[in-house]
Protein backbone atom coordinates (compact mmCIF):
# COMPACT_ATOMS: atom_id res chain seq x y z
CA UNK A 1 0.00 0.00 0.00
CA UNK A 2 1.29 3.36 -0.95
CA UNK A 3 2.60 5.21 2.00
CA UNK A 4 0.83 8.48 2.13
CA UNK A 5 2.04 11.32 4.23
CA UNK A 6 -0.60 13.63 5.50
CA UNK A 7 0.45 16.72 7.25
CA UNK A 8 -2.38 16.52 9.65
CA UNK A 9 -3.78 18.76 12.29
CA UNK A 10 -2.17 21.93 11.05
CA UNK A 11 -4.61 23.82 13.10
CA UNK A 12 -7.16 22.89 15.62
CA UNK A 13 -8.88 26.18 15.93
CA UNK A 14 -11.24 25.22 18.66
CA UNK A 15 -12.37 22.09 20.42
CA UNK A 16 -15.30 22.74 22.67
CA UNK A 17 -15.93 19.23 23.84
CA UNK A 18 -17.01 20.39 27.27
CA UNK A 19 -20.01 22.24 25.88
CA UNK A 20 -23.21 20.28 25.31
CA UNK A 21 -23.08 20.22 21.52
CA UNK A 22 -24.96 17.91 19.17
CA UNK A 23 -24.18 14.23 19.40
CA UNK A 24 -25.30 11.19 17.48
CA UNK A 25 -26.05 8.00 19.37
CA UNK A 26 -24.81 5.02 17.40
CA UNK A 27 -25.67 2.34 19.91
CA UNK A 28 -29.18 1.82 18.60
CA UNK A 29 -30.82 1.84 15.21
CA UNK A 30 -31.23 5.48 14.37
CA UNK A 31 -34.75 6.24 13.21
CA UNK A 32 -34.15 9.96 13.28
CA UNK A 33 -30.95 10.64 11.34
CA UNK A 34 -29.21 13.94 11.95
CA UNK A 35 -29.94 16.51 9.20
CA UNK A 36 -26.56 17.72 8.00
CA UNK A 37 -25.65 20.17 5.24
CA UNK A 38 -22.40 19.52 3.41
CA UNK A 39 -21.49 22.67 1.51
CA UNK A 40 -19.36 22.16 -1.61
CA UNK A 41 -15.77 22.98 -0.76
CA UNK A 42 -14.74 26.31 -2.16
CA UNK A 43 -11.99 26.02 -4.77
CA UNK A 44 -9.43 28.79 -4.39
CA UNK A 45 -9.16 30.75 -7.63
CA UNK A 46 -5.37 30.60 -7.42
CA UNK A 47 -5.46 26.83 -7.81
CA UNK A 48 -3.24 25.32 -10.50
CA UNK A 49 -4.72 23.31 -13.34
CA UNK A 50 -3.88 19.63 -13.19
CA UNK A 51 -4.08 17.52 -16.34
CA UNK A 52 -5.52 14.38 -14.71
CA UNK A 53 -8.74 15.92 -13.42
CA UNK A 54 -11.02 18.91 -13.30
CA UNK A 55 -9.92 21.26 -10.54
CA UNK A 56 -12.95 23.54 -10.63
CA UNK A 57 -15.42 20.82 -9.57
CA UNK A 58 -13.13 19.12 -7.06
CA UNK A 59 -14.73 20.85 -4.08
CA UNK A 60 -18.18 19.67 -5.13
CA UNK A 61 -16.90 16.13 -5.73
CA UNK A 62 -15.33 15.94 -2.27
CA UNK A 63 -18.56 17.12 -0.66
CA UNK A 64 -20.49 14.45 -2.59
CA UNK A 65 -18.22 11.71 -1.24
CA UNK A 66 -18.69 13.01 2.30
CA UNK A 67 -22.47 13.03 1.81
CA UNK A 68 -22.44 9.48 0.45
CA UNK A 69 -20.39 8.30 3.40
CA UNK A 70 -22.76 9.92 5.85
CA UNK A 71 -25.83 8.55 4.12
CA UNK A 72 -24.39 5.03 4.21
CA UNK A 73 -24.25 5.10 8.00
CA UNK A 74 -27.98 5.59 8.35
CA UNK A 75 -27.14 8.04 11.16
CA UNK A 76 -27.08 11.20 9.05
CA UNK A 77 -29.44 12.75 6.57
CA UNK A 78 -27.43 14.92 4.13
CA UNK A 79 -29.67 17.71 2.88
CA UNK A 80 -30.17 18.61 -0.76
CA UNK A 81 -27.76 21.26 -1.99
CA UNK A 82 -30.36 23.22 -3.96
CA UNK A 83 -31.80 24.50 -0.70
CA UNK A 84 -28.43 25.84 0.47
CA UNK A 85 -28.54 29.50 1.35
CA UNK A 86 -24.94 30.66 1.43
CA UNK A 87 -22.02 30.60 -0.95
CA UNK A 88 -19.37 28.02 0.07
CA UNK A 89 -16.55 30.50 0.65
CA UNK A 90 -18.67 32.83 2.76
CA UNK A 91 -20.23 30.02 4.76
CA UNK A 92 -16.75 28.69 5.46
CA UNK A 93 -15.70 31.96 7.04
CA UNK A 94 -18.75 32.18 9.24
CA UNK A 95 -22.15 30.72 8.48
CA UNK A 96 -25.35 32.66 9.02
CA UNK A 97 -26.60 30.09 11.49
CA UNK A 98 -30.23 31.19 11.50
CA UNK A 99 -30.44 30.82 7.69
CA UNK A 100 -29.09 27.26 7.79
CA UNK A 101 -31.45 26.43 10.61
CA UNK A 102 -34.31 27.47 8.32
CA UNK A 103 -33.62 24.51 6.05
CA UNK A 104 -33.71 22.29 9.16
CA UNK A 105 -30.00 21.54 9.16
CA UNK A 106 -28.48 20.83 12.57
CA UNK A 107 -24.87 20.50 11.44
CA UNK A 108 -22.97 22.11 8.61
CA UNK A 109 -19.72 21.14 6.92
CA UNK A 110 -17.82 23.83 5.04
CA UNK A 111 -14.38 23.88 3.48
CA UNK A 112 -12.01 25.16 0.88
CA UNK A 113 -9.16 23.78 -1.14
CA UNK A 114 -6.13 25.03 -2.96
CA UNK A 115 -3.85 23.25 -5.39
CA UNK A 116 -0.40 24.76 -5.51
CA UNK A 117 3.04 23.34 -6.32
CA UNK A 118 1.33 20.04 -7.02
CA UNK A 119 0.03 19.87 -3.46
CA UNK A 120 -3.60 19.75 -2.46
CA UNK A 121 -4.41 21.73 0.64
CA UNK A 122 -7.84 21.15 2.09
CA UNK A 123 -9.38 22.87 5.06
CA UNK A 124 -12.76 22.08 6.57
CA UNK A 125 -14.97 23.05 9.48
CA UNK A 126 -17.89 21.41 11.21
CA UNK A 127 -20.49 23.76 12.67
CA UNK A 128 -23.16 23.10 15.24
CA UNK A 129 -26.02 25.16 13.89
CA UNK A 130 -28.20 24.95 16.99
CA UNK A 131 -25.50 26.11 19.36
CA UNK A 132 -24.05 28.43 16.66
CA UNK A 133 -20.55 27.10 17.27
CA UNK A 134 -17.63 25.65 15.42
CA UNK A 135 -17.01 22.03 16.47
CA UNK A 136 -14.00 20.99 14.40
CA UNK A 137 -11.57 22.81 12.14
CA UNK A 138 -8.79 20.89 10.43
CA UNK A 139 -6.57 21.14 7.41
CA UNK A 140 -4.59 18.58 5.42
CA UNK A 141 -1.95 18.74 2.75
CA UNK A 142 -1.41 15.84 0.37
CA UNK A 143 -0.85 15.04 -3.30
CA UNK A 144 -3.84 15.89 -5.53
CA UNK A 145 -4.32 12.24 -6.50
CA UNK A 146 -5.35 11.54 -2.92
CA UNK A 147 -8.44 13.70 -3.13
CA UNK A 148 -10.87 10.83 -2.51
CA UNK A 149 -8.96 9.89 0.61
CA UNK A 150 -9.18 13.49 1.79
CA UNK A 151 -12.96 13.22 1.53
CA UNK A 152 -12.89 9.99 3.56
CA UNK A 153 -10.63 11.45 6.23
CA UNK A 154 -12.90 14.49 6.59
CA UNK A 155 -15.86 12.10 6.91
CA UNK A 156 -14.03 10.17 9.64
CA UNK A 157 -13.19 13.34 11.59
CA UNK A 158 -16.80 14.53 11.51
CA UNK A 159 -18.18 11.09 12.37
CA UNK A 160 -15.77 10.92 15.27
CA UNK A 161 -16.73 14.35 16.55
CA UNK A 162 -20.47 13.70 16.32
CA UNK A 163 -20.64 10.09 17.52
CA UNK A 164 -17.71 9.95 19.90
CA UNK A 165 -16.35 6.86 18.11
CA UNK A 166 -13.68 6.52 15.46
CA UNK A 167 -14.91 6.32 11.90
CA UNK A 168 -14.38 3.75 9.14
CA UNK A 169 -14.43 5.69 5.86
CA UNK A 170 -10.70 5.95 5.14
CA UNK A 171 -10.49 2.17 4.80
CA UNK A 172 -10.30 -0.51 2.15
CA UNK A 173 -11.97 -3.83 1.53
CA UNK A 174 -10.00 -6.84 0.32
CA UNK A 175 -12.25 -9.44 -1.27
CA UNK A 176 -12.50 -12.19 -3.85
CA UNK A 177 -13.78 -11.06 -7.23
CA UNK A 178 -15.89 -13.72 -8.96
CA UNK A 179 -16.75 -14.12 -12.63
CA UNK A 180 -17.93 -16.95 -14.87
CA UNK A 181 -20.44 -19.77 -14.44
CA UNK A 182 -21.06 -21.22 -11.00
CA UNK A 183 -19.26 -24.51 -11.63
CA UNK A 184 -16.27 -22.82 -13.29
CA UNK A 185 -15.88 -19.67 -11.23
CA UNK A 186 -12.82 -17.54 -11.86
CA UNK A 187 -11.66 -15.93 -8.64
CA UNK A 188 -9.20 -13.09 -8.16
CA UNK A 189 -8.01 -11.18 -5.15
CA UNK A 190 -9.30 -7.63 -5.31
CA UNK A 191 -8.98 -4.46 -3.31
CA UNK A 192 -11.20 -1.40 -3.26
CA UNK A 193 -11.94 1.66 -1.20
CA UNK A 194 -14.71 1.18 1.33
CA UNK A 195 -17.10 3.07 -0.98
CA UNK A 196 -16.40 0.80 -3.97
CA UNK A 197 -13.95 3.05 -5.83
CA UNK A 198 -10.33 2.42 -6.92
CA UNK A 199 -10.74 -1.31 -7.49
CA UNK A 200 -7.47 -3.14 -8.05
CA UNK A 201 -7.00 -6.78 -8.92
CA UNK A 202 -4.10 -8.43 -7.15
CA UNK A 203 -4.10 -11.82 -8.89
CA UNK A 204 -4.85 -12.79 -12.47
CA UNK A 205 -7.40 -15.53 -11.89
CA UNK A 206 -5.18 -18.39 -13.06
CA UNK A 207 -5.65 -20.22 -9.79
CA UNK A 208 -8.41 -20.40 -7.22
CA UNK A 209 -7.94 -17.92 -4.38
CA UNK A 210 -10.05 -17.57 -1.23
CA UNK A 211 -10.37 -15.75 2.11
CA UNK A 212 -8.01 -12.73 1.93
CA UNK A 213 -7.36 -11.00 5.29
CA UNK A 214 -5.46 -7.79 6.04
CA UNK A 215 -2.60 -7.49 8.47
CA UNK A 216 -3.00 -4.73 11.10
CA UNK A 217 -1.02 -2.20 9.03
CA UNK A 218 -2.96 -3.03 5.83
CA UNK A 219 0.22 -3.65 3.83
CA UNK A 220 -0.10 -7.40 3.65
CA UNK A 221 -2.89 -9.80 2.85
CA UNK A 222 -2.90 -13.46 3.84
CA UNK A 223 -5.09 -15.77 1.80
CA UNK A 224 -5.57 -19.27 0.45
CA UNK A 225 -4.29 -20.02 -3.05
CA UNK A 226 -4.54 -23.21 -5.12
CA UNK A 227 -1.30 -22.33 -6.94
CA UNK A 228 -0.05 -25.51 -8.70
CA UNK A 229 -3.13 -27.23 -7.28
CA UNK A 230 -1.67 -27.18 -3.78
CA UNK A 231 -4.01 -25.30 -1.45
CA UNK A 232 -1.72 -23.33 0.86
CA UNK A 233 -1.76 -20.14 2.88
CA UNK A 234 0.04 -17.29 1.13
CA UNK A 235 1.22 -13.85 2.02
CA UNK A 236 0.97 -10.98 -0.45
CA UNK A 237 2.68 -7.62 -0.18
CA UNK A 238 0.12 -5.26 -1.70
CA UNK A 239 2.63 -2.62 -2.75
CA UNK A 240 5.27 -4.87 -4.31
CA UNK A 241 2.95 -7.65 -5.44
CA UNK A 242 5.38 -10.23 -4.05
CA UNK A 243 3.66 -13.44 -2.96
CA UNK A 244 5.11 -16.18 -0.81
CA UNK A 245 3.79 -19.40 0.66
CA UNK A 246 3.54 -19.38 4.44
CA UNK A 247 5.41 -22.37 5.76
CA UNK A 248 6.07 -25.63 4.09
CA UNK A 249 3.32 -27.79 5.49
CA UNK A 250 2.90 -31.31 4.05
CA UNK A 251 -0.79 -30.75 3.31
CA UNK A 252 -3.51 -28.14 2.94
CA UNK A 253 -3.28 -24.98 5.02
CA UNK A 254 -6.28 -22.66 5.05
CA UNK A 255 -8.41 -20.20 7.07
CA UNK A 256 -5.52 -17.78 7.78
CA UNK A 257 -5.71 -14.67 9.91
CA UNK A 258 -3.13 -12.32 11.40
CA UNK A 259 -2.53 -11.95 15.11
CA UNK A 260 -3.43 -8.46 16.41
CA UNK A 261 0.28 -7.49 16.55
CA UNK A 262 0.76 -8.71 12.99
CA UNK A 263 3.65 -10.97 13.94
CA UNK A 264 1.91 -14.29 13.50
CA UNK A 265 -0.48 -15.97 11.16
CA UNK A 266 -2.94 -18.40 12.65
CA UNK A 267 -4.50 -20.99 10.34
CA UNK A 268 -5.77 -24.53 9.91
CA UNK A 269 -3.56 -27.33 8.71
CA UNK A 270 -5.35 -30.41 7.37
CA UNK A 271 -3.63 -33.76 7.29
CA UNK A 272 -5.01 -37.28 7.01
CA UNK A 273 -8.56 -36.03 7.35
CA UNK A 274 -7.97 -33.97 10.46
CA UNK A 275 -7.78 -30.17 10.62
CA UNK A 276 -6.04 -28.54 13.58
CA UNK A 277 -5.08 -24.95 14.33
CA UNK A 278 -1.47 -23.81 14.03
CA UNK A 279 0.29 -20.51 14.30
CA UNK A 280 3.40 -19.39 12.53
CA UNK A 281 5.73 -16.63 13.62
CA UNK A 282 6.45 -14.67 10.46
CA UNK A 283 9.91 -13.59 11.53
CA UNK A 284 11.31 -16.78 13.06
CA UNK A 285 9.06 -19.10 10.98
CA UNK A 286 8.52 -21.15 14.11
CA UNK A 287 5.32 -23.18 13.86
CA UNK A 288 3.26 -23.98 16.90
CA UNK A 289 0.39 -26.47 17.05
CA UNK A 290 -2.42 -24.97 19.08
CA UNK A 291 -5.25 -27.53 18.93
CA UNK A 292 -4.79 -31.28 18.87
CA UNK A 293 -8.12 -32.98 18.39
CA UNK A 294 -9.35 -35.57 15.88
CA UNK A 295 -12.23 -33.31 14.84
CA UNK A 296 -12.24 -30.35 12.46
CA UNK A 297 -10.82 -27.20 14.07
CA UNK A 298 -10.85 -24.18 11.80
CA UNK A 299 -11.69 -20.46 11.29
CA UNK A 300 -9.47 -19.20 14.16
CA UNK A 301 -9.58 -15.52 15.16
CA UNK A 302 -7.59 -13.80 17.94
CA UNK A 303 -9.08 -11.50 20.54
CA UNK A 304 -7.72 -7.95 20.07
CA UNK A 305 -5.41 -8.35 23.10
CA UNK A 306 -4.02 -11.56 21.60
CA UNK A 307 -4.72 -13.57 24.75
CA UNK A 308 -7.57 -15.68 23.39
CA UNK A 309 -8.58 -17.41 20.18
CA UNK A 310 -12.10 -18.14 19.06
CA UNK A 311 -12.51 -20.95 16.53
CA UNK A 312 -14.90 -23.33 14.87
CA UNK A 313 -14.92 -27.04 15.73
CA UNK A 314 -17.19 -30.04 15.22
CA UNK A 315 -15.75 -31.93 18.22
CA UNK A 316 -19.22 -32.06 19.76
CA UNK A 317 -20.53 -33.68 16.55
CA UNK A 318 -21.61 -30.56 14.70
CA UNK A 319 -20.08 -27.14 14.00
CA UNK A 320 -19.95 -24.99 17.14
CA UNK A 321 -17.89 -22.00 18.31
CA UNK A 322 -15.21 -22.31 20.97
CA UNK A 323 -12.87 -19.98 22.83
CA UNK A 324 -9.48 -20.95 24.24
CA UNK A 325 -6.36 -19.26 25.56
CA UNK A 326 -3.98 -18.50 22.71
CA UNK A 327 -1.66 -21.33 23.86
CA UNK A 328 -4.49 -23.80 23.26
CA UNK A 329 -5.45 -24.39 26.91
CA UNK A 330 -8.83 -23.85 28.58
CA UNK A 331 -10.93 -24.74 25.56
CA UNK A 332 -14.55 -23.78 26.15
CA UNK A 333 -17.57 -24.19 23.93
CA UNK A 334 -19.57 -20.95 23.85
CA UNK A 335 -22.48 -21.72 21.48
CA UNK A 336 -25.30 -23.94 22.67
CA UNK A 337 -28.28 -22.74 20.64
CA UNK A 338 -30.01 -24.93 18.10
CA UNK A 339 -28.34 -24.93 14.70
CA UNK A 340 -24.76 -24.84 13.47
CA UNK A 341 -22.31 -22.04 14.14
CA UNK A 342 -19.27 -21.04 12.08
CA UNK A 343 -16.83 -18.25 11.10
CA UNK A 344 -16.33 -16.63 14.51
CA UNK A 345 -14.55 -13.26 14.32
CA UNK A 346 -13.58 -11.24 17.34
CA UNK A 347 -14.63 -7.59 17.33
CA UNK A 348 -11.78 -5.04 17.30
CA UNK A 349 -13.33 -3.63 20.49
CA UNK A 350 -13.06 -7.04 22.12
CA UNK A 351 -16.61 -7.13 23.40
CA UNK A 352 -18.36 -9.22 20.75
CA UNK A 353 -17.84 -12.18 18.44
CA UNK A 354 -19.58 -12.13 15.06
CA UNK A 355 -20.57 -15.45 13.50
CA UNK A 356 -22.57 -17.31 10.86
CA UNK A 357 -25.42 -19.50 12.04
CA UNK A 358 -27.18 -22.16 9.99
CA UNK A 359 -30.57 -23.25 11.19
CA UNK A 360 -33.37 -25.07 9.37
CA UNK A 361 -31.74 -24.39 6.02
CA UNK A 362 -31.42 -20.62 6.58
CA UNK A 363 -28.22 -18.62 7.13
CA UNK A 364 -27.86 -15.87 9.72
CA UNK A 365 -25.18 -13.32 10.57
CA UNK A 366 -25.15 -12.59 14.28
CA UNK A 367 -23.17 -11.29 17.22
CA UNK A 368 -22.76 -12.48 20.79
CA UNK A 369 -20.59 -11.70 23.78
CA UNK A 370 -17.31 -13.56 23.93
CA UNK A 371 -18.73 -15.93 26.57
CA UNK A 372 -21.55 -16.87 24.17
CA UNK A 373 -24.30 -14.98 25.97
CA UNK A 374 -26.46 -12.26 24.44
CA UNK A 375 -26.75 -13.83 21.00
CA UNK A 376 -28.42 -11.50 18.51
CA UNK A 377 -29.18 -12.53 14.92
CA UNK A 378 -28.93 -9.50 12.64
CA UNK A 379 -29.94 -10.84 9.24
CA UNK A 380 -31.43 -13.99 7.71
CA UNK A 381 -31.04 -15.21 4.14
CA UNK A 382 -30.76 -18.18 1.79
CA UNK A 383 -26.98 -18.11 2.05
CA UNK A 384 -24.62 -15.63 3.70
CA UNK A 385 -21.48 -15.97 5.76
CA UNK A 386 -18.01 -14.69 6.63
CA UNK A 387 -18.59 -11.45 8.57
CA UNK A 388 -15.70 -8.98 8.90
CA UNK A 389 -15.70 -6.03 11.32
CA UNK A 390 -15.43 -2.34 10.55
CA UNK A 391 -12.43 -0.95 12.46
CA UNK A 392 -14.71 0.71 15.03
CA UNK A 393 -16.65 -2.49 15.69
CA UNK A 394 -20.01 -1.01 14.68
CA UNK A 395 -20.60 -2.50 11.23
CA UNK A 396 -20.18 -5.96 9.72
CA UNK A 397 -19.47 -6.73 6.10
CA UNK A 398 -20.24 -10.21 4.73
CA UNK A 399 -21.19 -11.92 1.47
CA UNK A 400 -24.47 -13.32 0.30
CA UNK A 401 -25.18 -15.86 -2.44
CA UNK A 402 -28.46 -16.30 -4.26
CA UNK A 403 -30.23 -19.50 -5.21
CA UNK A 404 -29.64 -20.88 -8.70
CA UNK A 405 -31.96 -22.83 -10.97
CA UNK A 406 -31.35 -26.29 -12.42
CA UNK A 407 -28.83 -24.87 -14.90
CA UNK A 408 -27.01 -22.81 -12.30
CA UNK A 409 -28.60 -19.58 -13.54
CA UNK A 410 -29.63 -16.88 -11.10
CA UNK A 411 -26.55 -17.39 -8.99
CA UNK A 412 -24.81 -14.30 -7.65
CA UNK A 413 -22.42 -13.41 -4.86
CA UNK A 414 -22.47 -9.88 -3.43
CA UNK A 415 -21.04 -7.96 -0.51
CA UNK A 416 -23.43 -6.60 2.10
CA UNK A 417 -23.05 -4.65 5.30
CA UNK A 418 -25.21 -4.29 8.38
CA UNK A 419 -24.89 -2.33 11.61
CA UNK A 420 -24.62 -4.45 14.75
CA UNK A 421 -27.84 -2.78 15.82
CA UNK A 422 -29.47 -4.93 13.11
CA UNK A 423 -30.40 -1.84 11.12
CA UNK A 424 -29.03 -0.28 7.97
CA UNK A 425 -28.49 -3.37 5.83
CA UNK A 426 -27.04 -2.36 2.46
CA UNK A 427 -25.32 -3.83 -0.56
CA UNK A 428 -21.83 -2.66 -1.48
CA UNK A 429 -21.24 -2.01 -5.13
CA UNK A 430 -18.46 -4.07 -6.67
CA UNK A 431 -17.30 -4.27 -10.30
CA UNK A 432 -17.87 -8.02 -10.36
CA UNK A 433 -19.54 -10.55 -8.11
CA UNK A 434 -17.72 -10.65 -4.80
CA UNK A 435 -17.18 -12.75 -1.68
CA UNK A 436 -14.93 -13.18 1.38
CA UNK A 437 -14.62 -9.50 2.35
CA UNK A 438 -11.96 -8.30 4.78
CA UNK A 439 -12.23 -4.78 6.18
CA UNK A 440 -8.95 -2.95 6.72
CA UNK A 441 -8.19 -0.80 9.74
CA UNK A 442 -8.09 2.98 9.32
CA UNK A 443 -5.42 3.80 6.74
CA UNK A 444 -4.34 6.99 8.47
CA UNK A 445 -4.42 6.70 12.21
Amino acid sequence: MKKIIFILLLSILSWNSSNALITVDITRGNLDPLPIAVSPLHVDSESEKIPSFETSTLGAEISKIIEKNFKSTGLFNPLKKDSFVQKPDIAHLKPRFEDWRLIKAQALVTGKLLIKNNKLKVEFRLWDLTAAKEMVALSFTTTPNNWRRVAHIISDKIYERLTGESGYFDTRIAYVSETGPKNQRIKKLALMDQDGFNTKYLTLGNELVLTPRFNPTNQLVTYLSYFKNMPRVYLLDIETGIQEVVGNFPGMTFAPRFSPDGKKIIMSFAKDGNSDIYSMDLETRVVEQITKHPSIDTSPSYSPDGKYITFNSDRSGLQQIYVMRSDGTQVKRITHGSGLYGTPVWSPRGDLIAFTKVRKGRFYIGVMRSDGTGERLLTENFYQEAPSWSPNGRVLIFYRETKSDSKGKGFSAKLWSIDITGYNERRLKTETDASDPSWSSLLSK
Binding site: P181, K182, N183, R185, L208, L210, T211, L224, N229, M230, P231, M252, F254, A255, S268, A270, D272, G273, N274, S275, I296, T298, S299, N312, D314, L318, Q319, L340, G342, T343, T356, V358, G361, F382, Y383, E385, A386, E401, K403, S404, D405, S406, K407, G408, F411, S435, D436
Partner: protein, 159 residues
Protein backbone atom coordinates in the same frame (compact mmCIF):
# COMPACT_ATOMS: atom_id res chain seq x y z
CA UNK B 1 -64.69 -25.75 -34.83
CA UNK B 2 -62.10 -28.06 -36.20
CA UNK B 3 -59.47 -25.54 -35.29
CA UNK B 4 -60.79 -25.33 -31.73
CA UNK B 5 -60.71 -29.04 -31.39
CA UNK B 6 -57.17 -29.12 -32.60
CA UNK B 7 -56.17 -26.60 -29.94
CA UNK B 8 -58.05 -28.56 -27.32
CA UNK B 9 -56.19 -31.71 -28.30
CA UNK B 10 -52.95 -29.89 -28.19
CA UNK B 11 -53.69 -28.75 -24.68
CA UNK B 12 -54.53 -32.23 -23.59
CA UNK B 13 -51.30 -33.50 -25.00
CA UNK B 14 -49.31 -30.69 -23.40
CA UNK B 15 -51.00 -31.12 -20.06
CA UNK B 16 -50.46 -34.86 -19.93
CA UNK B 17 -46.80 -34.39 -20.87
CA UNK B 18 -46.44 -32.01 -17.99
CA UNK B 19 -48.09 -34.48 -15.66
CA UNK B 20 -45.86 -37.31 -16.76
CA UNK B 21 -42.68 -35.27 -16.44
CA UNK B 22 -43.76 -34.00 -13.03
CA UNK B 23 -44.33 -37.58 -11.91
CA UNK B 24 -41.01 -38.77 -13.21
CA UNK B 25 -38.97 -36.03 -11.50
CA UNK B 26 -40.76 -36.54 -8.21
CA UNK B 27 -40.17 -40.27 -8.45
CA UNK B 28 -36.54 -39.79 -9.46
CA UNK B 29 -35.72 -37.49 -6.55
CA UNK B 30 -37.06 -40.06 -4.16
CA UNK B 31 -35.14 -42.93 -5.64
CA UNK B 32 -31.89 -40.99 -5.98
CA UNK B 33 -31.09 -40.37 -2.33
CA UNK B 34 -31.21 -42.76 0.59
CA UNK B 35 -30.66 -41.27 4.05
CA UNK B 36 -29.46 -38.02 2.47
CA UNK B 37 -26.83 -39.81 0.33
CA UNK B 38 -27.05 -39.71 -3.46
CA UNK B 39 -27.51 -43.19 -4.93
CA UNK B 40 -28.13 -42.31 -8.58
CA UNK B 41 -25.75 -42.50 -11.51
CA UNK B 42 -26.32 -39.15 -13.26
CA UNK B 43 -22.99 -37.51 -12.59
CA UNK B 44 -20.89 -40.65 -12.25
CA UNK B 45 -18.00 -41.27 -14.61
CA UNK B 46 -15.88 -44.39 -14.89
CA UNK B 47 -12.18 -45.02 -14.35
CA UNK B 48 -12.55 -48.27 -16.28
CA UNK B 49 -15.44 -50.49 -17.26
CA UNK B 50 -17.47 -51.16 -14.12
CA UNK B 51 -15.27 -48.90 -11.93
CA UNK B 52 -17.22 -45.76 -10.90
CA UNK B 53 -15.06 -42.73 -10.11
CA UNK B 54 -17.02 -41.22 -7.21
CA UNK B 55 -18.79 -41.80 -3.94
CA UNK B 56 -21.37 -39.68 -2.12
CA UNK B 57 -21.87 -38.49 1.43
CA UNK B 58 -24.61 -37.33 3.78
CA UNK B 59 -24.73 -33.67 4.84
CA UNK B 60 -21.77 -32.73 7.06
CA UNK B 61 -20.66 -36.40 7.17
CA UNK B 62 -17.67 -38.27 5.85
CA UNK B 63 -18.84 -41.80 6.71
CA UNK B 64 -18.65 -44.34 3.88
CA UNK B 65 -21.91 -46.06 2.97
CA UNK B 66 -22.15 -49.71 1.90
CA UNK B 67 -22.42 -48.57 -1.73
CA UNK B 68 -19.40 -46.28 -1.33
CA UNK B 69 -17.28 -49.09 0.07
CA UNK B 70 -18.34 -51.28 -2.84
CA UNK B 71 -17.24 -48.57 -5.31
CA UNK B 72 -13.93 -48.07 -3.51
CA UNK B 73 -13.20 -51.82 -3.51
CA UNK B 74 -13.71 -51.77 -7.29
CA UNK B 75 -11.30 -48.84 -7.52
CA UNK B 76 -8.76 -50.66 -5.34
CA UNK B 77 -8.98 -53.80 -7.46
CA UNK B 78 -8.50 -51.72 -10.60
CA UNK B 79 -5.49 -49.94 -9.07
CA UNK B 80 -3.91 -53.19 -7.96
CA UNK B 81 -4.23 -54.46 -11.54
CA UNK B 82 -2.86 -51.23 -13.00
CA UNK B 83 0.24 -50.78 -10.87
CA UNK B 84 1.53 -47.67 -12.67
CA UNK B 85 -1.60 -45.65 -12.07
CA UNK B 86 -1.55 -42.88 -9.49
CA UNK B 87 -4.67 -41.03 -8.46
CA UNK B 88 -5.84 -37.84 -6.81
CA UNK B 89 -8.89 -38.12 -4.59
CA UNK B 90 -10.83 -34.85 -4.69
CA UNK B 91 -13.07 -34.12 -1.73
CA UNK B 92 -16.06 -31.82 -2.17
CA UNK B 93 -18.87 -30.35 -0.11
CA UNK B 94 -22.22 -28.85 -1.04
CA UNK B 95 -22.89 -25.09 -0.98
CA UNK B 96 -24.87 -25.20 2.25
CA UNK B 97 -21.97 -24.73 4.65
CA UNK B 98 -19.44 -22.08 5.51
CA UNK B 99 -16.48 -21.99 3.13
CA UNK B 100 -13.70 -22.79 5.59
CA UNK B 101 -15.51 -25.63 7.30
CA UNK B 102 -16.32 -27.08 3.89
CA UNK B 103 -12.63 -27.08 2.96
CA UNK B 104 -11.91 -29.16 6.05
CA UNK B 105 -14.90 -31.40 5.36
CA UNK B 106 -13.78 -32.03 1.77
CA UNK B 107 -10.36 -33.01 3.04
CA UNK B 108 -11.91 -35.40 5.57
CA UNK B 109 -14.08 -37.00 2.87
CA UNK B 110 -11.17 -37.44 0.47
CA UNK B 111 -9.13 -39.06 3.23
CA UNK B 112 -11.97 -41.39 4.15
CA UNK B 113 -11.82 -42.66 0.56
CA UNK B 114 -8.03 -42.81 0.56
CA UNK B 115 -7.94 -44.79 3.83
CA UNK B 116 -10.36 -47.33 2.43
CA UNK B 117 -8.34 -47.73 -0.77
CA UNK B 118 -5.26 -48.34 1.37
CA UNK B 119 -7.10 -50.94 3.44
CA UNK B 120 -7.68 -52.77 0.17
CA UNK B 121 -4.04 -52.92 -0.72
CA UNK B 122 -3.29 -49.69 -2.57
CA UNK B 123 -0.15 -47.92 -1.40
CA UNK B 124 -0.76 -44.46 0.06
CA UNK B 125 2.09 -43.21 -2.13
CA UNK B 126 -0.12 -43.70 -5.17
CA UNK B 127 -2.94 -41.58 -3.74
CA UNK B 128 -2.86 -37.85 -3.19
CA UNK B 129 -5.80 -35.91 -1.83
CA UNK B 130 -7.11 -32.42 -2.41
CA UNK B 131 -10.12 -30.64 -1.03
CA UNK B 132 -12.13 -28.15 -3.04
CA UNK B 133 -14.73 -27.50 -0.35
CA UNK B 134 -17.78 -25.99 -2.03
CA UNK B 135 -15.76 -24.45 -4.87
CA UNK B 136 -16.32 -27.00 -7.64
CA UNK B 137 -19.95 -28.18 -7.74
CA UNK B 138 -20.68 -30.84 -10.37
CA UNK B 139 -24.31 -29.75 -10.41
CA UNK B 140 -24.70 -25.95 -10.14
CA UNK B 141 -28.34 -25.99 -9.09
CA UNK B 142 -29.52 -24.97 -5.63
CA UNK B 143 -31.61 -28.05 -4.90
CA UNK B 144 -31.42 -31.00 -2.53
CA UNK B 145 -30.64 -33.28 -5.50
CA UNK B 146 -27.76 -31.07 -6.68
CA UNK B 147 -26.40 -30.77 -3.16
CA UNK B 148 -26.44 -34.57 -2.76
CA UNK B 149 -24.52 -34.95 -6.04
CA UNK B 150 -21.98 -32.35 -4.90
CA UNK B 151 -21.23 -34.02 -1.55
CA UNK B 152 -18.71 -36.36 -3.08
CA UNK B 153 -15.20 -37.61 -3.39
CA UNK B 154 -13.92 -38.28 -6.89
CA UNK B 155 -10.97 -40.48 -7.73
CA UNK B 156 -9.14 -38.97 -10.68
CA UNK B 157 -6.31 -40.58 -12.62
CA UNK B 158 -3.26 -38.41 -12.01
CA UNK B 159 -0.82 -39.79 -14.60
Amino acid sequence: MKFNKAIKNLFIVLFSTLLISACSTAKKAKVDTVDDVYTGTDTVEFLAKGVPDRIFFATNKSKLTTASRDTLRKQATWMRKNKDVTVTVEGHADERGTREYNLALGERRANAAKDYLMTYGVSGKRISVISYGKERPVNPASSPLAWSQNRRSVTVKAN
